[in-house]
């Protein structure tokens, strides 16, 4: 092949901060006539008010219920009828709203996002309606699904002690019922401010024009003079933590093992990204090989760590669905053999180098679309996290080097330091269907 291998991909990134504190990031790409726009607020379910579990997510629904100049369903109608798609999601430390549209609708999207950043306009009827919708969302995704909420709702209350990290993020129904319109407005005024957000524009536009439009629509939105500071730190863990949850539908026992990861942007944090892939990188990963292929205890395993998109205590989690003829305790013992082998024998370059090749390939894939059917969705997501958490969107072009520089010695040292019982939590889902047989 004569085509040069692009070893060093460079993503164009331009950014500025408006006078009200709104950060604006643009990544132009003129190859197709579409733009993807995102507004990310630095508020996620970690920081929802006490006694209001599930509120950050309920609030995200309210952001589609009407703003000053665009009433209920108008956001959706205006995006769909411009030829675009939209959505929003609530995460640990961010809530995002995003659209992909033909590039002639860029100004309209900015107008809409600015309108709801400036003034949410919702009433009790909207709140009642969306509370009902959210309850059905919880039923369809958690209560009426095998392994629903496993383990993202199971692990935090076992692993963590500080309420922001340890509560039910989808929300107890009693808490959802207790939410009032006053709560909605207060949350909006506290967190949905330009100086707590980043606007991202990706795709087919002239950056100077895009920045001009951003300024035109967003710069006169008043900032929140006093953003609250929240303490999401965890007390030092000194013992292994255990939890048990009844699995009402699924027939197999399931185990989640979560190790708490080092803080963002520390040297160990990069090692964590590589160790995660050593253990969980598909069928060549050590855990799949051991539990599914060699020992044939598990029917399936997967795992991962949300390192790039979290800004507080987070875990690398292994999920194991094992055959009912094996015990969960025995399964964890075999899992522990994988960990002990890494601690005692480390890793050779013949394994580490391919892990890094796959890591690089997966990073490009994430930038390209990130598995979401919107152009540059993954790139948008990373730029937002790098801007909000690290203050530097250009990290998107630098971060790979940190992961690819990890050495075998670092991997082994990490395993000894972090992959230890007093740094982990284990939750087992016991199937109701097996209860009689036990």
């Amino acid at each position: 092949m004569t085509a040069p291998a692009k070893q060093h991909l460079h993503i164009p990134v331009e950014h500025t901060t408006l006078s009200n504190g709104l950060r604006v990031v643009a990544s132009p790409d003129r190859s197709a006539p579409f733009v993807t726009v995102g507004v990310y607020y630095q508020i996620g379910f970690r920081l929802e008010p006490h006694g209001r579990s599930g509120f950050a997510h309920l609030f995200e629904h309210m952001m589609f219920q009407g703003s000053e100049n665009a009433g209920k369903m108008e956001h959706i109608r205006l995006i769909n009828s411009s030829g675009g798609m939209l959505n929003g999601t609530t995460n640990y430390d961010i809530t995002n709203y995003f659209e992909s549209v033909p590039s002639n609708a860029l100004e309209r999207v900015l107008w809409l996002e600015a309108d709801r950043m400036r003034a949410l306009k919702v009433d009790d009827e909207n709140l009642r309606n969306q509370r009902d919708v959210v309850k059905e969302e919880v039923r369809v995704n958690v209560m009426n699904q095998p392994y629903g909420g496993f383990p993202w709702l199971d692990l935090p209350p076992v692993a963590f002690r500080n309420w922001p990290n340890a509560h039910n993020f989808y929300g107890d129904f009693a808490d959802l019922d207790a939410a009032t319109l006053a709560d909605v407005q207060k949350f909006f005024h506290t967190y949905y401010a330009p100086n707590n957000a980043v606007l991202l524009m990706l795709g087919d536009f002239e950056p100077a024009e895009a920045f001009r439009l951003a300024k035109k629509y967003f710069e006169d939105i008043p900032p929140q003079p006093k953003l609250p500071h929240a303490d999401v730190s965890e007390p030092l863990q000194t013992e292994e933590r255990h939890g048990e949850v009844e699995e009402k539908l699924g027939p197999l026992p399931a185990i989640a093992i979560g190790y708490t990861m080092p803080p963002r942007e520390t040297p160990d944090w990069y090692v964590a990204g590589i160790v995660d892939r050593v253990l969980h990188g598909g069928r060549a990963g050590r855990v799949y090989r051991k539990l599914v292929l060699d020992e044939q205890i598990a029917v399936d395993i997967d795992g991962g760590a949300d390192l790039l998109e979290t800004n507080g205590p987070t875990q690398m989690v292994t999920r194991i669905y094992h055959k009912p003829e094996f015990t969960s305790e025995g399964t964890v013992t075999i899992f522990d053999e994988v960990i002990e082998e890494l601690q005692q024998k480390g890793i050779g370059l013949e394994e580490l180098d391919p892990v890094k090749v796959k890591f690089r390939s997966d990073y490009y894939s994430m930038l390209e679309s990130g598995g979401y059917p919107m152009p540059r969705f993954g790139l948008m997501h990373l730029l937002a996290c790098f801007t909000l958490f690290d203050g530097d969107p250009h990290r998107v072009n630098k971060i790979l080097a940190g992961f690819l520089g990890v050495t075998p010695e670092q991997v082994q040292a990490f395993a000894k330091k972090y992959l230890v019982p007093q740094n982990r939590a284990i939750v087992v889902r016991h199937p109701l269907a097996l209860a009689g047989a036990r």
Binding site: S31, N104, R108, A284, E368, S369
Partner: protein
């Protein structure tokens, strides 16, 4: 709260759309090798990766009367070893090339897909060819995968969406092979390794197959590479048997899948419909978009945004190769099952009897053409669109003319399509939930047949 005159006056209007840019679908290199393998190549050079999909036009529908699930378990085991590479080596080779691999089978096709770094494109294609030509089906891998699939089947039988689709497909397609969406446990248990090998040798053949590659390469060089890797592959193609006709349903009937104690009911109703090759396809897609195929559709507005019955309602047209089917679905709380069905039929009937407004029509046209064209801007989107066109053997120019064909339709076309394809009078209704909580509500809509979660009729 009151809406004052002042606030109405103060309302700003959204900015008008700028001039529309033309969507240019990328140049395709389309050729058929002498062994019958059709090759479709598209250069997409923003990121240093390639994505490749190798399709065989043989799937579970071919074997649903003799060995249900055979195509699927064949696809699963195909990645577990070749004559020269044991399973472990395959997975290590993939990782070394920064590549992932997927093997799958649907009703009408089986596929081997891989995506990875462009610098390893020849290695990735060689591995795919190795799997397609020299898979060895090791006995122990077959037994391991079959056990895994058995456990997955048990999990599927606890999943409301699966149970609803299984029952609806069974009812709509009857003796036609599309009736079967998954094997029974005992059917999977009866499959032998020899059957996998026989299916593989008969159906993983170059004649009538399709290779799509998108990514960072030059088409001429990629084509030469593919010629070297796949050109020597020769195997004859077996003629598929004709399928029995699906039943002709008259009158609404209710099919209740009983799951005691569930907190929510999965509702899905539907009727047989058309394929993408039918002349009604475009008006049907447009009508479906207005009914329930988009966030801003009547069904979502009604039962989600006004009534709060459900989180993710929708309607869909599901084109398989021989026939299609139309569905309306929602997961709702147990006390509004009858109310939900009432609104679903109301919305279907309204599409049939009252023309859509000009505003709805043009909104839906813009939505469909915009979102369709978004496919041009991601590698996965492009692969999906190309697979639709070439796997279904749609006319050349399908992508390029989609926009004008949708734009050319009017409210009468939409109504006519709704009258032909939203068959509310004869729709088959599936509800998956607790009989004691929803049985009476469901019975208001037609005679009820009850099933258990294993798929057996309860007499």
């Amino acid at each position: 709260m009151s809406v004052s005159a002042a606030s109405v006056v103060a309302r700003a209007n959204p900015p008008a759309l700028g001039p529309e840019s033309a969507v240019v679908w990328p140049k395709r290199t389309v050729t058929t090798l002498s062994n019958g393998l059709q090759v479709v190549l598209v250069e997409s050079r923003n990121f240093p990766r390639i994505s490749a999909q190798l399709y065989f036009r043989s799937g579970n529908a071919l074997v649903s009367d003799t060995a249900p699930g055979l195509a699927e378990i064949t696809a699963t085991v195909v990645r577990s070893g070749t004559v020269s590479r044991p399973s472990r080596r395959i997975e290590e080779d993939l990782r070394r090339m920064g590549a992932g691999l997927g093997t799958s089978s649907g009703a009408d096709f089986s596929a081997i897909s891989s995506a990875g770094l462009a610098e390893f494109s020849s290695g990735i294609l060689e591995l795919m060819a190795d799997l397609a030509r020299h898979a060895s089906f090791p006995s122990e891998e077959f037994e391991r995968e079959r056990r895994q699939r058995l456990e997955e089947l048990k999990i599927e039988r606890t999943t409301p969406g699966f149970l609803a689709t299984e029952r609806l497909r069974g009812v709509l397609f009857g003796a036609h092979p599309y009736a079967v969406v998954a094997p029974r446990e005992e059917q999977l248990a009866a499959i032998t390794r020899d059957q996998l090998v026989a299916f593989y040798h008969s159906h993983y053949v170059p004649a009538d197959s399709l290779l799509i590659v998108v990514g960072d390469f030059t088409a001429a060089e990629m084509l030469a590479q593919i010629g070297e890797i796949f050109g020597t592959w020769k195997a004859p193609k077996a003629e598929p048997p004709a399928s029995p006709a699906p039943p002709h349903q008259r009158g609404r009937r209710v099919h209740l899948v009983h799951r005691p104690g569930t907190v929510q009911t999965q509702v899905v109703l539907g009727n047989l419909s058309i394929t993408r090759r039918d002349s009604d396809w475009f008006p049907l897609v447009l009508a479906n978009s207005i009914l329930g195929g988009a966030f801003h559709s009547r069904l979502v507005l009604n039962i989600r945004e006004q009534k709060g019955y459900t989180y993710s309602p929708g309607s869909g047209v599901n084109p398989l190769r021989q026939r299609g089917y139309f569905t309306v679905r929602a997961a709702v709380r147990n006390d509004v099952v009858a109310a939900t069905l009432t609104e679903m039929f109301y919305e279907m009937d309204r599409m049939r009897s009252v023309p859509v407004t000009e505003e709805e029509l043009s909104s839906a046209q813009s939505y469909l053409t915009g979102v369709f064209s978004l496919g041009v801007a991601t590698q996965d989107g492009l692969l999906g669109q190309l697979a639709t066109v070439y796997l279904d053997q749609l006319p050349e120019g399908y992508l390029e003319t989609y926009r004008e064909r949708i734009r050319a339709l009017d409210a009468r076309d939409v109504q006519a399509a709704a009258r032909r394809h939203f068959d509310s009078a004869n729709a088959q209704i599936v509800v998956v939930g607790d009989r004691d909580q929803i049985g009476e509500q469901a019975a208001l809509f037609g005679p009820v047949t009850e099933y258990d979660a294993k798929g057996n009729e309860v007499v």
